[in-house]
Symmetry: C2
Subunit: 479 residues, 2 copies
C-alpha cells in the first residue's frame, strides 16, 4: 500500500508547481495582462468574428498538458477577442462595470491562500472582512446598525436571497400563494421575475404597477392597488422597486414607496444592483436617499464600484429575518458552535463553501480610499448628462433626463421605418466595434441606450460615440 | 460641465494604476504569495488566536488610502493567520479542497480581462469554455451528449438549482406541496435541506430513508416507502442521494436508487459535491458508476479537483428542464436573440452577471492534463485506507471501511465518558494546530472524522496525524 501511495504522490506532484515554475507562469500571465491593459484604450469594445471562439473545442480537456504559451494563445484568440470587451471604456451597453486591476490582486491572493469566508470559526478574519464591508454598505445606504447582508456572485442571487427572505418573513404558506400579491414596476429587472420563480412563488399574483413619463413607478397607483386588493381579500406582501432600472436608469420614488409599504405592512425590496452605489456621489444623494426606507436592498460592486464580474451584495435591515431563512446547523459543523461573536455568511445566504469575495472588494477600497470611487461615479452621471445634451444636437430624440447614468435615445430617419432604422443603426455600431451600445424596447419602440458606468469611459469616449452615431446615421440615410 | 467632467476624471484616475504602479503591486503580491507557499508545508493547519482578526476593524473603509505593505500586513495578521488554513495539507476536517496555484492565475486573468461568461452573444469564447468544461464533466459522469449544466459558486447553489429544476419538471403546484414527498438520506448534506426551504418547498413531506451499517441509504426501504406513500395518496417526486456524504463519505446505492426513481417516476438528484470527481480514478469507478442513472448531479471542482473555493457545478440530463426553470428574455437583451448557437449560463442558472468561473478550472486542467488529478484522487483514497488501518493499531475504534476518503473513528478511554473524551481530544488537536480534524455526531455519539482531500495531504501528513492522536490520547488519559 505504501508503495502505491508514494507512486500516486509522485504522479500528482505537478499540482504543486515548484517556485521556478510558478515564476514562469507568473511572468507569462503578467506579460499577457500587461499587454491587454496597454491596449485597452485603443482596442475595440466589440468584435464580430465568424468563429466566436470555436477554437477552444480543438483543444479538449484530456490527458495531455499544454504549455502556458499555448493556453494564453487559446485564451487570446478565442476568449479575449470575440464579442464584447467589458474591460473597455467603450462598453456603453447593458450595465457596464469594468474591472479595476486592484481587484485582480485580491482574487489572486484569495485563490492562493484559499481562506474560507463562510463560517467564523474556520475563517474569522475573512468573515470579519466581509461583514465589515457589508456594515460599510449598510451605513452608506442609511440602514441602521445591526443590519446584515451577504456578498453574492451578483445582483441576481442577491435579489433571490432578498425575495425568499421576504417570503419567509411574511410566513407565506404555499396554499396562500395564489392570493398573495407582489407589486413590481413594469421596468423591474428580470432577475426579480426569475427569483420569484426560483423561490417557488410563481403562483403569486404579480401586479405590474404603471410608470410615469420618467419610467418611474407611480406610487399613488401602487397604494390604490394595494387598497383594492386588500378589499378583494388578497394578501399584498411584497413590493420591489428599482434604484436605477436597467432599461432607462430610472429611480422609482423610493421614499413614497417605502412609506406605503410600511403603512400596509409589505416587505419593501429595492433592486439597486445598478444604481445604489451612486449614493457615494453628491449628484445622486437627493434621488437615492429613500433607499433607507427599504427592508432589503441589492447593490452590485461589480457595477457601481467597477469591480470585475462576480460581486453583488444584499443588505437586510432585520438580521433575524435573513437568519430565519438561511440558518441551519448540521452535526458535522458542531465544532463551530462555540464561536459566534460574528455572524457567518453561511448562516445568511444559500451558500456554504464559496468564493472569498471580500478580498477583491476590500483591497481596492483600502488601497485607493473612497475618493476616486465617488469621483468616478460623479463623472459617469455628468457624462450621461453631457451625452443627453449633445445627442440632441445631432438630431436624436431622447427619453427622460437621466436620473443616473443611462440615456435612452433614438433616431427618426427622413424615410422608412423608425424601428428598423434604429435596429440597423445598433447593428452598424456593433460591426464597427469601437464602442458598444445596446438597444431595448420601450412602449413598443426600439430604443437605443447609453449606459455610462465603465470606469474607463471618459469624455473622449462619449465624444467618439457621438461621432460614430453621426457617421452611421449618415451612412444609413444614404443607403 | 466640461470642466467638472475633467476634474472628476482626474480625481477618479487612481482607479487605473499606471504600469509602474501595477508592477509595484504585482511584485508585492507575488512576494506575499511566494512566502505563503514557501511555508505552507510547515505552517499550522489551525491557529487559535484571541483576537480572531479583529485588527481589520481598526482600519475601516474610509477616504484614506493605505499602501500595499500595510494592506498585506493587515491581511497577514488578521485573515491569513487565525483559524483554519484550508491551503494546508494538514486540513483534514469538514471537506478540504486546497487551492492549486494554477487556478489563481486563472482568477487573475479573469479579473483583469473581465470577460462576461453569462451570455453567448456578449462573451462567446467564455461561454464556450464553460460549456466545454460542463460537457467534459457530463462525459466522465456518464451522462449522454446533450446534457447541460452550470458552473456555480459551490455545491449549495448547485443543489438549489437542481432541486428547483426538479420541482418545475414535476410541475408541482403550491397547493400540492403538502402532499408531495421528498426522500432524503439521513446523512444528506444540509445544503439540500436549505435548498428545499429556499425553493419554497418546506411544506413538502420530507422522509428520511434509514441507513444501513455503512451509512448508505437503504434502497429497498426507499422503494417500500414510495409504494406506501403512493397508496396513501401522496405524490412522491424527488429522491436525493449522495455520492459521498459529508459526515462519513458514504456512497448511497446509486444504481438501485436510480432504478427505483425511474420505475416510480421520481426525479433523482445526486449530491456529489464531495465525491463525484473520484470517478476520475480507478479506485472509485465501481462504487460511483451508478451516478449516470441520475437526472441531476452536483460536483464541486473546489473539492474534488482541488480548486480554490468558489467552484461548484450542476449537471442536468434533460436540457429542456434546466432551461424551463431559468430561461427568461428581457427587452434590454434583445440584441442577443440572434446568437444562439451555444446555450448561455444566464439561461441555465439563477445568475446573470457572474464570475467567469470557467477560467480557474480550464487553466489548470489544460496546463496539467488529467493525469495528476486522477493520481491525486487515488492517493487520497489510499491515504484514507491507510489511516483506517493504522488508527486501529493505536486503539481507536473505526466506523465502516471508507467508500471514498473519509474515515470515522473514536477513542474509548479507560475511564470516563467516551463522548466527553473525544470532544476534548478534538479540542486538543485544534489547540495543537499542526493538523486540523473535525468531529460530528453519529447515532448520538461524538465521532471524529478524517477527511482526506487536500491536494497537499500526503503520507507524512497522515503519519503526523496518527502521531498527534497518540500523543493527545496519552496526554488526556493522564489528566
Amino acid at each position: 500500500m505504501i508503495n502505491r501511495i508514494h507512486e500516486l504522490e509522485r504522479l500528482a506532484s505537478p499540482l504543486e508547481p515548484l517556485p521556478e515554475e510558478r515564476d514562469h507562469l507568473f511572468n507569462k500571465v503578467k506579460k499577457y495582462t500587461d499587454k491587454f491593459l496597454s491596449e485597452i484604450y485603443e482596442c475595440p469594445a466589440y468584435v464580430v468574428t465568424e468563429d466566436k471562439g470555436i477554437g477552444l473545442y480543438h483543444s479538449p480537456i484530456s490527458e495531455i498538458p499544454i504549455d502556458i504559451d499555448e493556453a494564453l494563445n487559446l485564451l487570446k484568440y478565442n476568449v479575449d477577442r470575440p464579442g464584447l470587451n467589458p474591460a473597455s471604456g467603450g462598453h456603453l451597453g447593458y450595465i457596464p462595470g469594468g474591472g479595476i486591476p486592484h481587484s485582480a490582486y485580491g482574487d489572486f491572493l484569495a485563490a492562493i491562500t484559499n481562506r474560507y469566508a463562510g463560517v467564523f470559526f474556520a475563517g474569522p478574519g475573512a468573515v470579519r472582512m466581509e461583514n465589515m464591508l457589508l456594515d460599510w454598505m449598510a451605513e452608506i445606504i442609511g440602514y441602521p446598525k445591526g443590519s446584515v447582508g451577504n456578498l453574492t456572485s451578483g445582483g441576481s442571487v442577491a435579489n433571490l436571497i432578498g425575495i425568499v427572505t421576504a417570503r419567509d418573513a411574511h410566513n407565506l404558506k404555499a396554499k396562500d400563494f395564489e392570493k398573495s400579491v407582489i407589486y413590481l414596476s413594469e421596468q423591474v429587472h428580470h432577475s426579480v421575475d426569475k427569483a420569484i420563480r426560483i423561490g417557488g412563488l410563481k403562483e403569486c399574483v404579480i401586479k405590474y404597477v404603471p410608470l410615469d413619463k420618467k419610467y418611474r413607478m407611480q406610487a399613488e397607483v401602487l397604494e390604490q392597488t394595494i387598497l383594492q386588493d386588500k378589499q378583494a381579500g388578497l394578501n399584498p406582501w411584497l413590493v420591489v422597486a428599482s434604484a436605477g432600472t436597467t432599461d432607462t436608469g430610472a429611480v422609482d420614488p423610493l421614499k413614497e414607496i417605502g412609506e406605503i409599504a410600511e403603512a400596509h405592512d409589505l416587505w419593501f425590496h429595492i433592486d439597486g444592483a445598478y444604481g445604489a452605489f451612486f449614493i457615494l456621489c453628491d449628484e445622486a444623494q437627493q434621488i437615492l436617499k429613500g433607499m433607507a426606507t427599504s427592508d432589503s436592498i441589492v447593490m452590485d460592486p461589480h457595477k457601481g464600484l467597477f469591480l470585475p464580474y462576480g460581486s453583488g451584495a444584499l443588505l437586510v435591515k432585520d438580521r433575524q429575518k435573513l437568519l430565519d431563512t438561511h440558518y441551519y446547523m448540521p452535526n458535522y459543523l458542531q465544532d463551530t458552535l462555540n464561536s459566534r461573536d460574528e455572524l457567518s455568511p453561511a448562516d445568511l445566504s444559500p451558500e456554504l463553501t464559496k468564493h472569498f469575495r471580500g478580498l477583491r472588494l476590500w483591497l481596492p477600497l483600502k488601497l485607493l480610499g473612497l475618493a476616486p470611487f465617488r469621483a468616478c461615479l460623479g463623472e459617469k452621471i455628468w457624462l450621461a448628462r453631457y451625452f443627453y445634451e449633445k445627442v440632441q444636437e445631432i438630431d436624436f430624440e431622447v427619453g427622460p433626463y437621466p436620473d443616473l447614468s443611462v440615456v435612452t435615445y433614438r433616431y427618426t430617419p427622413k424615410h422608412g421605418d423608425v424601428n428598423e432604422f434604429n435596429q440597423k443603426l445598433v447593428r452598424e455600431i456593433h460591426q464597427d466595434g469601437r464602442v458598444f451600445i445596446s438597444s431595448t424596447i420601450i412602449d413598443g419602440n426600439i430604443t437605443l441606450r447609453l449606459a455610462v458606468l465603465a470606469f474607463r469611459t471618459h469624455l473622449n469616449t462619449i465624444d467618439l460615440t457621438l461621432e460614430i452615431l453621426k457617421e452611421k446615421v449618415k451612412f444609413l440615410e444614404r443607403l
